[in-house]
Symmetry: C2
Subunit: 222 residues, 2 copies
């Protein structure tokens, strides 16, 4: 086979390969549009949200319809937020200023019952507010650390399974969800998620009670 | 020229074109990495931030060094936030619960002096707190609308030039910036920015005093 023939075959082969890759890309794009055209998950919800029954999210396999008078099977900002929390399959790291909402507390306890590791960081002063769920969560055996500084631990974010960030202006309270004007942003964009994972880990270590105890002993000795 | 020759020429031409496009893509990627590899702007800042001089951001062309005792030319979470606000060239829409920070107020007034259209939505109750900048901003002629509902307008977001979203847990107060644990997320990702633009516009219309006045008259008549 001459050199010219080899060049021709290689050239035509390259064209065939290029066209195949292009066509496969187009096909992939049509079949799974989000993976190619939209990138990682990105959602925004606003509050207040209409009040709806959330029972189906907790007991999806129940054969009995919920008898409560609230609207059922309604997709609201809150049911979507709850769905993201309940979707956790390997971990939940939560860093929240105020936590009084009963449905969100039930979601956290449900994940704990499923054996999913949960870490909660919260503001010490706000564990004492009326209706705080931190006591019940602690009693269930979930690891909670409190920021006891003179100022507020004002974050309101969660990281689900180490890859899905839920952040915004919304505290985990009933007033925030049903009354206030609030926002929540959910994303799996690594450039946005990773800094929050790092910050959570930093705050988790800083607020380790054992570490604080050792530091206070050291300051007394020195 | 025979058909075989035409096929060869077209084939080799296609290969040359494909390789050129690939090479140009690689070159573009090397020269402007963010545009290709990272997609739209995505940044996260955490607070509290160290205190640093911000004078250079307001007077970048001043030949005189700032005589203040604070550290100069330091890149902190706050100088980056301030930089994003001051980068506005066509509009600033701000939806913030509490606004007492003097530097951020100065930035808003500087944009107004440059003739950039500014719209501010805030919580009525929080315009009355000590140090609120809303009065000074209104007196400068900037359009401010207040949410006077019984609950909080708890958002803390801004949209710069209709394309850059700044959102998070941080109120525009000195305590939030220098003391609290807070976060700010900055992005130009359209899927995240557009819902905030729509929500701002909705709240802006809802809180139009003229509309509220007409509605109250209508309720009296009916």
């Amino acid at each position: 086979m001459s050199v010219v023939q080899i060049v021709k075959i290689v050239g035509l082969g390259a064209v065939a390969l290029t066209l195949s890759v292009e066509w496969l890309g187009w096909l992939f794009c049509r079949l799974w549009p989000r993976k190619i055209t939209r990138g990682p998950l990105k959602e925004v919800f606003f509050f207040p949200t209409e009040v709806a029954c959330t029972e189906r999210l907790f007991t999806p396999d129940s054969p009995f319809p919920c008898p409560c008078p609230l609207p059922h099977n309604v997709n609201t900002s809150f049911t979507r937020l709850l769905g993201h929390i309940l979707s956790a399959s390997s971990s939940l790291d939560l860093c929240v200023f105020a936590f009084t909402n009963l449905d969100l507390s039930r979601a956290v306890l449900a994940l704990h019952t499923r054996g999913i590791p949960i870490r909660i960081l919260t503001d010490m002063d706000y564990t004492l507010i009326t209706g705080s769920q931190i006591g019940a969560i602690r009693r269930a055996g979930i690891c909670v650390r409190c920021d006891s500084g003179a100022v507020h631990m004002h974050h309101k974010f969660a990281v689900v399974d180490g890859r899905r960030l839920i952040t915004g202006s919304l505290n985990w309270t009933l007033t925030a969800i049903q009354s206030n004007k609030e926002n929540i942003l959910v994303t799996e964009e690594p450039d946005l998620v990773l800094p929050f994972i790092t910050e959570f880990q930093r705050l988790w270590v800083v607020n380790d009670p054992a570490r604080r105890h050792l530091l206070s002993i050291a300051s007394l000795v020195l």
